[in-house]
């Protein structure tokens, strides 16, 4: 019962923290330089891992779909199937999970270390609000970079699928591309990017929250980082379900 209550309190504090972040986002001074710096750290630094994951996911997806479609004599549908699976689900979810592992954990560790070494307190005593200076740029950068990296995942995933389907499995290029055009609509790509945008906000708030409230030295930072990665990963799947429910329902 006590753990249940603590979890509710924790969730309440997270919501309050998110509200604080939102309020500070619209108050001057606006530190564009810090946002760009975080976009580089969170986004540019994740290009390689997202690119590799995207390419191989597309290849595996094409291979699996090819074996299934071949039974039905519908190999031409592989391109469309791969593209729609990537655009709607796999790209935003896998991109987000990859960034959580790489950049989300780094955010929690960095802020947690700053907390336990009193750097955040020091900032506060210098009349600089730490939420505005440290958290807002990370949240804004994530909201921008998650969709951009999802687009990269989309493109490289489809390229991987094309290479596997057309180059290795011998599916004719014409039907592969033509079925992609028939199956995939703009709204499929758009819904994936909207998901990525929400994932960016949710992941950044959770990872910053865990770091910002870390306690108890190196052990506390470690526990905060583990908790941030677990919470973010679960949150991605829950938010994914909720957005899918709304977009498919409408």
């Amino acid at each position: 019962m006590r753990r249940f209550r603590a979890a509710f309190e924790d969730f309440g504090e997270l919501i309050f923290f998110a509200g604080e972040v939102l309020a500070w986002t619209f108050r001057p001074p606006f530190r564009l330089g810090l946002v760009i710096g975080q976009m580089a750290a969170i986004g540019v630094g994740s290009v390689m891992i997202v690119g590799v994951t995207g390419t191989f996911t597309g290849m595996v997806l094409a291979l699996q779909t090819y074996y299934a479609m071949r039974q039905l004599g519908a190999e031409g549908l592989v391109g469309g199937s791969v593209a729609i699976a990537l655009a709607r689900e796999l790209s935003p979810v896998l991109t987000a999970l990859m960034i959580v592992g790489r950049s989300g954990s780094a955010i929690t560790t960095e802020l947690g270390t700053m907390r336990v070494t009193e750097q955040i307190d020091a900032m506060e005593t210098m009349a600089v609000n730490p939420v505005q200076y440290l958290v807002v740029p990370r949240v804004l950068a994530s909201i921008v970079m998650f969709p951009l990296l999802t687009m990269l995942f989309d493109v490289l995933g489809y390229a991987g699928g094309y290479a596997m389907g057309v180059g290795v499995s011998g599916i004719p290029a014409g039907p592969f591309i033509e079925h992609t055009r028939t199956f995939v609509e703009h709204k499929d790509i758009f819904s994936g990017l909207v998901k990525a945008l929400f994932f960016g906000g949710v992941v950044a708030v959770i990872t910053c929250f865990r770091g910002y409230n870390a306690r108890g030295g190196a052990r506390g930072v470690g526990e905060g980082t583990t908790s941030a990665v677990v919470m973010s990963s679960i949150a991605i799947l829950i938010v994914d379900y909720l957005i899918t429910l709304v977009t498919v329902g409408s």
């Binding site: 960095e110 009193e118 600089v128």
Partner: protein
């Protein structure tokens, strides 16, 4: 001037401060001496408004730090500089960026040349030259980190400087130089200083007045001489560890 009046604070079941009263006169150094867990840091965090009391209040130059929040508190904090126990330098910034940070963030009208000149000036107060400007905190010794932290605390010309355990973990020579640096800040810049410490030698060296904190209340306070001759049993025992060695 800092006035602490009947200050009470607890964390859950743990009653940390039990009715603290003390006054720090303008331009003097006041040391709060006490063992680990006596509530020294909690007291200091109330002074700068990082914590709010359960009862009582703290006024700094007439501003009630326990009654203000938000923008008012942010504004009031510009009266202060604070030197943290572990220096709390931003490790992703160079020495120059650390010391310049409060100016860059809060004095946006200053030009880059003015900021640099001010940074160099404050580093000189703590006996550091321009050669340290491009260095990272990780490349500095413990004593140098403390000096940079003080330069950062002084860079906005605060009226009050708070020191949290400034000599903890330092060798005797570095401790002596940190004591000298606290005196220099008072003599050269006329700041009011409040020092939290368990270092008896250092406390008696820099204090104009001092208070001994024990179990959440002040066991003795006054000039170093007055405290040294206090009748309080804890104070006598606490001080005897050091004075017997002399």
């Amino acid at each position: 001037m800092i006035e602490v009046v009947d200050l009470w604070k607890s964390f859950g079941e743990n009653q940390v401060l039990k009715g603290i009263n003390c006054t720090v006169e303008k331009g003097t150094t006041f040391v709060v001496l006490g063992g680990s867990g006596s509530g020294k840091t909690v007291l200091m965090k109330h002074v700068i408004g990082l914590l709010h009391p359960d009862r009582g209040h703290v006024t700094v130059n007439g501003i009630d730090m326990s009654a203000i929040t938000g923008q008012e508190l942010t504004q009031a904090r510009q009266l202060f500089g604070m030197v943290f126990q572990g220096a709390a330098l931003f490790d992703s910034m160079t020495v120059f960026e650390n010391v310049a940070f409060p100016l860059v963030e809060k004095r946006r009208q200053m030009t880059a040349d003015e900021v640099r000149a001010r940074v160099v000036e404050k580093l000189r107060v703590v006996d550091l030259g321009e050669e340290v400007l491009p260095r990272w905190p990780a490349e500095l010794s413990g004593g140098m980190r403390k000096r940079v932290a003080l330069a950062r605390a002084l860079v906005t010309d605060p009226q009050v400087v708070l020191y949290d355990e400034p000599t903890t973990g330092l060798d005797p020579i570095t401790t002596d130089s940190v004591d000298g640096m606290i005196d220099a800040a008072k003599e050269k810049l006329g700041v009011t200083s409040m020092v939290i410490s368990h270092d008896i030698a250092s406390a008696f060296k820099v204090a104009d007045k001092l208070a001994v904190l024990y179990d959440g209340h002040i066991a003795a306070q006054g000039t170093p001489e007055e405290v040294r001759h206090s009748d309080d049993p804890f104070v006598r025992k606490f001080l005897s560890y050091w004075f017997k060695k002399q």
